[in-house]
Symmetry: C2
Subunit: 453 residues, 2 copies
């Protein structure tokens, strides 16, 4: 088995193939493994993540894998109060509560909450494995989230809260996305026994941001790659995939690998940049044209200590400021140094991406100061990562679908093309877009390819 | 100057460069020139086009170019009555009138007509060169055409008529497209002195389907290529484009060309499959991720003579049948053999693409028979072209924009990246998506690149 891509999906695929006593070769474009997860050392043997990092309840595949390879988890810091920054006014609010945190805007929060009840209810009727068969699927897929929002939320603050949630989940704007794709994504945010909910997507405690990995999320991939050993080839971008009646030939600039089947474990946009012989069917090629990646710049400021904790703050903000509208405490498990994490997402990431790094840093630190005090203005270090600039990623967190794509191209998402099988978190029916979905997609593709041997 | 792509845009760019006494090399992936225009011989020295074919008033660039290279035009056959086929009922109607043909459905036609008045009015406020600056641009770009249609047309038949028009213009569904992009496209359907209108997009007489080229539209490219002579290299897919402070290096598998600048004259999706060194900025890469190509299968049946003309019919149908909803008389200028042309567009093209050719032919001929009589069941030849299957096209007629793209990525459409300039009909502000826009885009890119020398 040949696997293209040594992110969580590709490595999980190869791991499954080897576990079933078949041979596997993994080919990775980068010099490193981990795909959209990436540790960055901050001194003293500690790391922060500048890619995907969280894990939470119902993400059983990722949690189980981390346990297998010996990467423990710990809770995301969530003690005390969040802050809500809106029109220049800062208000603290509880990070807990039975439904998760409720921002201190009674009108807007109630408006958003009734919308979320509707969304969860509609999502519960969306079959994860075939969202295009949901009730009113074509109607939902014919509109953007923005259109649905304007028709179903009535207050400016309610719409703002939904906007921040959508941007935080997709790193894209509500106008960019199909409402049916959104419902699928919500539906996908659960496991075999727990239906997905919007709350689980956006919450910290009990949600998708519940826990973190000791040593950084990339460590899971690094450990898998270590176990796979010389099966993993780094620094070899795959240029061409040939298939015949008997097997596949996967070609890089200075490496060619033969196998029975190939698993392409990449976001659809990147998979579309490989040359295929014979040419892929139109349904697959046009599908890959239609799943752009989100836009996010992840920014982290390092301080001697997490000073906001002293003030009883979680380090989490929801804000209408520019450019950072969502923050987290990303301090290592030892409790120092203090790390504040801010996301620049969607429109803001597209607008700020071309600007000078110093301007970006200034703007981010001013946001942090507005939320947590002037101590935020003087970090000991500042890290940023614009995933849209990465040649082998070209946007995070995930590929998303504009209107119309699920309706006319949905089945192409996972349908193998002869001896080519498709993995990557986008292809998962559970926790699509997350590390958990990546792991599941790799295992599914491996099972599918092995069954076809 | 290096030009990538020998369609109308690339050849027009090279022609302009040479006209200004600079040197040019054109590199084309295919063994032929013409891009999305393609003649097919039907015997007796006659051809039909299985790609782009029409030209009409205000398409001055294409008309002028054809005149320069000696390719005359003739009127699309438009004498007599069109047919309207709806719910199994066939009704003839006039192909003329001051506003063009009005389908024989008083309620639906009135509903569609008031919508078109609105559309034309809104389009008149969209600056062609920067549609994202139009009044209410973000609002329009936040919704699909489908959403606007549901909010602004009240009758089922009116919506149906708009659907057929949208599908015929974009080879995509109203749910696939941004309403702002649609308004831009309408705005673009005119010249410097005539504002664009929806009617000009869809009409035959006086519209974008007004006239045809004697010898086939591809002949314009063939003649340009002949004049450019040994400057045109065919059969060399460009794999890599390198740029430095002093020039560019364009690499194919067995050909490398050096130049001062390069003009990439391809649809954005295809341009995104080339490797660039240094890597392109995020704005350009993510833009190319977001402009998928439409989906169309062009079908033509050849008969001894154009028998429908005897019955006083134009050969033009508007229908709700599957798969062909729009037809034309595509008979050569000599008047024989008779050729009926049917388009399978958007959803229908995606659904029919994978089906056996014999099934497709049967279904198309049954449609033709329903519209023009049983004589249509027995052609002497049948031609089909699914442009989504073409490796070097991957969808026609053009790249389109889903919601949100113009708002956040609009300027990336044409902005050069160092020594790389972007042509292709999608980049034109006049007649974007048409042969005329291709010619204009090539000339604009040439002028831009020469000015930068």
């Amino acid at each position: 088995m040949v696997v293209v891509g040594a992110g969580l999906a590709g490595l999980s695929a190869a791991r499954e193939v080897v576990r079933r006593d078949h041979s596997a070769i993994v080919i990775e474009a980068r010099k490193r493994v981990g795909g959209r997860t990436l540790n960055r050392p901050i001194g003293g043997g500690k790391v922060i993540e500048i890619g995907g990092q969280w894990v939470g309840p119902t993400q059983d595949a990722m949690l189980g894998l981390a346990h297998e390879v010996g990467v423990p988890t710990f809770k995301t810091y969530n003690d005390g109060q969040n802050v809500y920054y809106r029109n220049g006014v800062l208000l603290p609010y509880s990070s807990g509560g039975p439904l998760g945190p409720v921002p201190p805007d009674p009108t807007g929060a109630a408006d958003a909450e009734q919308a979320i009840v509707q969304i969860d209810q509609m999502a519960s009727q969306v079959p994860r494995e075939a969202p295009w068969t949901a009730p009113n699927a074509v109607e939902h897929d014919s509109q953007t989230i923005e259109t649905w929002k304007r028709n179903n939320l009535t207050t400016e603050n309610g719409r703002f809260l939904l906007d921040v949630g959508i941007e935080a989940v997709f790193a894209a704007e509500p106008r960019d996305l199909s409402f049916l794709f959104f419902l699928f994504y919500v539906s996908s945010a659960g496991n075999e026994t727990n239906p997905g909910t919007f709350e689980r997507l956006v919450n910290t405690g009990g949600g998708a941001q519940d826990s973190r990995f000791v040593g950084g999320s990339q460590l899971v991939s690094i450990k898998m790659a270590k176990q796979l050993g010389r099966r993993v080839f780094r620094g070899h971008p795959v240029r061409r995939i040939h298939q015949s009646a008997t097997g596949v030939r996967v070609e890089c600039d200075s490496l060619t690998v033969h196998g029975k089947h190939v698993i392409v474990a990449m976001a659809p946009q990147l998979a579309g940049r490989i040359q295929y012989f014979p040419a892929l069917p139109a349904s697959r090629d046009q599908f890959m044209q239609r799943v752009p990646n989100g836009s996010v710049i992840k920014c982290e400021a390092v301080y001697d200590r997490p000073f906001w904790r002293d003030a009883g703050l979680t380090g989490q903000a929801v804000s209408d400021a520019d450019p950072v509208r969502v923050t987290f405490d990303n301090t290592p498990p030892e409790g120092s140094p203090g790390v504040l994490l801010g996301f620049i997402e969607g429109e803001a990431a597209r607008r700020w991406g071309p600007r000078p790094a110093a301007d970006l840093r200034d703007a981010v630190l001013k946001n942090f100061a507005a939320y947590f005090g002037d101590a935020a203005l003087h970090p000991t270090a500042f890290h940023e990562m614009n995933w849209s600039n990465e040649t082998w990623t070209r946007g995070c967190y995930t590929g998303f679908m504009p209107p119309g794509v699920l309706t006319d191209f949905g089945p192409a998402l996972r349908a193998p093309v002869g001896r080519i099988h498709w993995a990557g978190t986008e292809t998962s029916d559970i926790w699509a877009g997350y590390m958990d979905g990546a792991v599941r997609s790799g295992r599914r593709a491996a099972a599918e390819a092995l069954a076809a041997l």
